[in-house]
Symmetry: C2
Subunit: 94 residues, 2 copies
Amino acid sequence: MLLLIAVTSKNEGKQCTMLENIFGLILKEIRSEKNISQEKLAEFSNLDRTYISLLERGLRQPTLTTIFKLSAALQITPQELIHKVYESYQHAKK
Amino acid sequence: MLLLIAVTSKNEGKQCTMLENIFGLILKEIRSEKNISQEKLAEFSNLDRTYISLLERGLRQPTLTTIFKLSAALQITPQELIHKVYESYQHAKK
DNA sequence: AAGAAATGCAGACTATAGTCTGTGGATATT
DNA sequence: AATATCCACAGACTATAGTCTGCATTTCTT
């Protein structure tokens, strides 16, 4: 399990939320465990490669459809993905 | 459990996806079970009342943040919410 | 060390999420 | 029946998700 560092990054004055960061970290973690590149994940999920990068860096957050696409590509259920995010989020809120 | 009818509704030529519809139906179901109005749900989740309506009719889909807000307001975990959506989605795909 | 692969980044763009206002129809309450 | 509550709907708007291109930097492989 990742050591969570609550990093706040800046994007043109827009402050990323903790949730977006956590989602990104979890996404990157799972992708790495599956040993696939962002490019492969993008291909499998039918999303743009650079968007995967944006997600992992917490600069974007996914919609429902994107969550379903990503989890399918990672071969986990969307609830598993969200559960991991939720757990980290609850932990980080303490 | 709702009897799922795969209804495709139109919005200015934009076709709603099955997933958006299913999310909307599940959201409405849970809200009704909790016996609260759209207005109350909107208030508890800090979202716009008309947007709750749009979601329930499948005319919009939520982002991650919105999923977390809604589930908190409904007093369920986000993974529980997504799980229900996933189950219905898998069922409807057959 | 060189080359290939992977990823970050900026900029511009399209598509759509989310808000707000006003109005009217449907349903519930009195 | 009258009134209150609930919700759909249209229209306009702001904010942001997601795409695409080009290029730089980093990481990995040989």
